[in-house]
Symmetry: C2
Subunit: 332 residues, 2 copies
């Protein structure tokens, strides 16, 4: 097993104050490695980076069409949204259209990460509800699939038909049996896989076509297109996924996951990317995916969305530039 | 140079999801190494972990006594407080007693980290001011010393008499010339040192006595006693420094710093501790100092303050236990 590679440095003045190591791999859709840093076989929990995989059964089963879901709904199913009114409103109407409500979700309540909305709720003494959970779109997708399958309400149980379908799709696109699963932050199962497996899955999405014979490939194409069409719904204003998708102008659909994971689908190149920062830091996973997108020619390093995560100054409480985030020598 | 040591593991289910590495050293007051993990000579920026060192000239110069400062003021000078009303109120009165105001600070405005106070200010549309900056106590100390020295208002400049005095004290207690300095989050200079130097300095504090012949030793004793007497002023309710100092019942004065630094003074043992997490993660520095305090017999691992940072369950948005923070094999 290869050691993690040095990936990201946090500079302050002329010193490297902190360092982040990790694993990254660029794959084709058969799992062939195009480039890698660290250990491409590192076993990881993809967390929210695999939401588009978790949404495959929703589309390929016909459940999405039966429920009349649009590309906005599909983008929300792939989202870690920040609980802005635009997200919560669309999700409330989605559940309502199925005769369901917030109480049918199993993701738990989370305060909004949209500053204005959070502040509004604090001042109105309005408690957050499950719609505000960053995973509520994924859960709305699970509920839609569960209803289509005629299954019971406890869709986060590991042996529920929804999760059985998710696991099957997950193992097929990653190309490996998942050796373990855990309970995610939103209480849904999250399946472990190799980093190369996650990158391979992203390449399966990248090479999927609208006219494929295979229902799963058509589903992968639709989900990728939905993410690319609605970067604002996949995360929110100011968020890395939203800003980087806008900046890459259709060249990459990207998705973050907790504990330093990032995945990217590059349709023009037919390639997938996955990375995991060993220590779980989001600042490092965002810098690393920015570096990889630049490396692959999908992102201008001078774009403000790139500079905010890589190279641009770190400033202090008085606005004084104190340092910068940089890639380690030898990475990307 | 020794590699960083594995220190802290973030478990989810039966998997280690993320890992933190770092350096740690336990020293006596002459810099003799009692125990170490990783590289004891690692060059670090101590950040806020060295505030008690930065407060030495305030006390040893006689400025603190001339200004009538109490142990509460000295605790605030060593603090990274969370901007609760208790902190901000005492600091406002301190400045007022010198005929100064919030506008004389150079630390910059930071929102309160005390939830009730932050929410109150949001709803009252009250902007944060510099008193709320976690470093405003250190800066009030700098202002007090500057006035005593008859120096100008720009006390964060590297050649200002206050910073010249801080640097001299810093280099003497760490036992080494500082090879570099940077601009800290609060705009004050922060001096680089070896990890062993920081631990040695903590041991200088640990062995200081009230009846020492040396004014610096008496100052170190007074500052340590002030921290131990007012753990609530050094950080705030729920914070690691406050909770761990309360839990160790006088056995340790501890201080966190940005980017994964922690320092501890153990008067009963006459020893100092310093640690740096390579990736800068606070969750890991808190777990590691907890482990070291337990290792040194200063903290009960079953105490809630310890369990919250090490061993106790990580829970998700529905309160389900999903994992735990544990020490890596071979550390502490």
């Amino acid at each position: 097993m290869a050691h993690p590679a040095d990936m990201v440095e946090i500079w302050r003045g002329r010193m490297v104050e902190s360092r982040h190591r990790g694993h990254a791999v660029i794959c084709d859709s058969r799992g062939g490695i195009v480039a890698c840093w660290g250990d491409p076989e590192a076993l990881i929990l993809p967390r929210s980076s695999c939401k588009m995989i978790q949404a495959l059964p929703l589309v390929e089963s016909g459940a999405a069409d039966a429920a009349g879901l649009t590309t906005e709904h599909l983008a929300l199913a792939c989202a870690s949204h920040q609980g802005a009114p635009v997200h919560v409103g669309k999700l409330a109407r989605w559940l309502e259209s199925m005769g369901l409500s917030e109480a049918d979700l199993r993701c738990g309540s989370q305060p909004s990460r949209d500053r204005a909305e959070r502040n509004r709720m604090i001042c109105a003494k309005e408690a957050p509800n499950q719609l505000y959970n960053n995973c509520s779109g994924k859960h709305a997708g699970f509920l839609t699939l569960g209803r289509h399958l005629g299954a019971g309400p406890d869709y986060v149980e590991i042996d529920h038909p929804v999760q059985v379908a998710v696991r099957a799709a997950f193992e097929e696109v990653t190309g490996m049996a998942s050796p373990a699963h855990v309970v995610d932050g939103c209480s849904a199962p999250n399946f472990a896989t190799g980093l190369r497996g996650l990158a391979r899955a992203m390449a399966v999405f990248a090479t999927a076509r609208s006219d494929a014979a295979d229902a799963r490939a058509r589903a992968a194409w639709r989900l990728t297109q939905a993410m690319l069409a609605h970067p604002d719904l996949v995360a929110g204003d100011g968020r890395a996924c939203t800003e980087l998708m806008r900046a890459t102008e259709g060249k990459a659909a990207v998705k973050t996951g907790a504990e330093g994971v990032f995945a990217a689908i590059l349709p023009e190149k037919g390639l997938g990317v996955a990375l995991k920062i060993e220590d779980g830091a989001t600042r490092a996973s965002e810098a690393a995916i920015t570096g990889l997108l630049v490396h692959m020619g999908a992102l201008d390093p001078a774009h403000p969305a790139a500079r905010r995560r890589l190279g641009g100054p770190i400033t202090n409480w008085r606005g004084i530039a104190t340092g910068a985030v940089r890639l380690a020598a030898g990475f990307a």
